[in-house]
Symmetry: C2
Subunit: 340 residues, 2 copies
DNA sequence: CTGAAAGCGCTTACAG
DNA sequence: CTGAAAGCGCTTACAG
């Protein structure tokens, strides 16, 4: 069954396409009789205006692109969900593309989205992305852009982030307030700003409370993997027998550390407290369950879409756009892997 | 910066739009000189043919819709990933929509996708979907359809599934072969076919090995939640003191059962073996890690897209389409929550 | 109140 | 070798 067009309706009713179109769009200069006839027939034939034709004419697609490093990932799948739900609410559809943390893929995917003529693009940068000319390209082509979580300070666009430094500070301070005195940090790789900020927040807290903040308490996890967590837990315990807590770049690393402790009968949090970051789904299921920082992915996705929409509509009204940076609040979730 | 059009190129070069178009598309009836001039200018101005115009003309969008019950979910996020990766490989983009297991949402989302004129739709049904007229509507509108995992036998389209009954049989038999004699099943709600099939596979295995397969060993989890797992573990142990294994509808329920055992110092697998289903990411992280059935989401997503593509291309060549049902193999993953 | 015309950006059968 | 014309399906300023 082919899609019904205005032309067909016009032919059946022996009127012009113009009139048929007007009748459906509540133009006042159509006789009630014609209006009714057109509407009834449209209803009967299940007429749906062809979106592609509308897009071509209106130069908008009511579609946005979402470019994200991963999808099989608790935080990012929440982000995607937030974007999709909010977009649908406002009549927009979302094309999802996964860079798999690859700069090359990300670059190509930006092209795909641009060629597709989406109305706007939401980007969370791949871990391996250093050069950001492809992102600048988005702005140059006049397409709206909002970055979230993995952002670049070199791009002049709206950004949706959490305050990683403050969140890490809060998490570390909770460990301190629960009585921990020697706290290691398993940080992420050096590139991403989030890694750096979480490290700085950790350091801030130690310094504020005058605890040992020497660099030999900091371990850099290359792969941010379960295995890394196990390995550094082993190493940290050997290098610092008096260690009583660790704070990790993300829950997965914390989970590895926790596994190591379980297998080696090291009491958590008796001997050592473990604090993760991100509040992955898994954190609540482990034994003991993991204390962590809740990173509200769904909310970030929602707000990112809303910001993009705002800019799309400002542009339509020819108003000027002022990029904003919106910080979404985080909170520390205390569970069983820390004291108190 | 506005997008460059063929018209602009033609004007600059003082040729017709027709010729410009042909030059870019390797029509042989264009002089080499013109061809070169057009190509160079197009390159220089970074000309990209307007996809929307092409879509309108070619009546295809190189875009498909993916309608899925959940996204913050290990299996489904893998499915989505598989679809997106394979689609991108073949020049297709994917619009993702989440029904959140709601029939109402699913119905509306099918409309959205149809109105968008996607070339095809991949559907995994919402848990609450009983009436499937909206799915039939897809076929009626001449849009290609492939269903995956949560399918409906009433729809005549290609389907990508696992053999739930066989998978459940295999999992249960592993428990039996490891020496378990009294095995309970925490099944899912009665609606979905997967629930039923997993129950039947469990029953098949018990009967084959002449073990107790009475109905009082079967508990129906309404919410398929962590809490359900805890609760039925408690109940099952009270009702069957000699219980030595459980097989659950999905890993989350198994995780709840495991938590219950941990908290109540019930040895796993010493006293009781626990077998989940789906191989969620979390299964490998728990202590003890969970034995389960691997449900290859990524592969299912890939194959689903490939099947859809095949049908799209068959149609283009006016060949006839024969719906296929493709069964993706599963395997039992033995970890620490079961014996041997 | 109705409809012919122009246009969104492209392609292609056809005439010259 | 080049380009005017028709067309994909719609909308809207304009003439009648």
């Amino acid at each position: 069954m082919q899609d019904v067009t205005l032309k067909q309706i016009a032919e059946i009713l022996n009127i012009s396409i113009t009139t048929a179109s007007k009748a459906l769009k509540d133009y006042k200069d159509v006789s009630p009789k014609t209006r009714i006839a057109v509407r009834n027939l449209a209803e009967k034939l299940n007429f749906k205006p062809n979106t592609t034709a509308l897009n071509l004419r209106n130069k908008e697609s009511k579609t946005i692109g979402l470019l994200i490093p991963e999808i099989v990932h608790h935080f990012f799948s929440n982000v995607i969900n937030g974007v999709i739900v909010e977009a649908e609410e406002h009549g927009y559809l979302v094309i999802v593309l996964i860079s798999n943390d690859s700069y090359e893929l990300e670059k190509r995917q930006v092209e795909l989205l641009l060629d597709k003529r989406v109305d706007g693009i939401l980007v969370s940068l791949a871990g391996s992305t250093i050069n950001i000319d492809h992102i600048k390209q988005i702005l140059k082509r006049g397409v709206h852009l909002v970055m979230l979580d993995k952002i670049s300070t070199e791009i002049n666009c709206s950004k949706i982030i959490i305050d990683d430094r403050k969140a890490a500070f809060d998490a570390t301070e909770k460990l301190i307030l629960s009585g921990c005195k020697k706290i290691a940090h398993f940080k992420g790789p050096d590139g991403p700003k989030t890694s750096l900020d979480r490290y700085l927040g950790y350091k801030d807290a130690l310094e504020k409370h005058k605890l040992d903040s020497s660099l030999n308490l900091v371990y850099t996890s290359k792969n941010v993997s379960l295995e890394d967590g196990r390995q550094y837990m082993d190493q940290a315990l050997r290098e610092h027998p008096d260690l009583d807590a660790i704070f990790t770049i993300t829950d997965l690393v914390a989970a590895g550390a926790l596994q190591y402790c379980q297998e080696n009968k090291i009491a958590v949090p008796g001997k050592i407290s473990i604090m993760g970051f991100s509040n992955w789904f898994v954190s609540g299921l482990m034994t003991p369950s993991l204390s962590t920082v809740d990173q509200p992915g769904f909310e970030m996705g929602r707000v990112a879409f809303l910001q993009l929409l705002k800019e799309i509509e400002l542009k339509k009204n020819e108003a000027s756009i002022h990029p904003e940076t919106i910080v979404i609040p985080t909170s520390v979730v205390l569970r069983q892997s820390t004291k108190n």
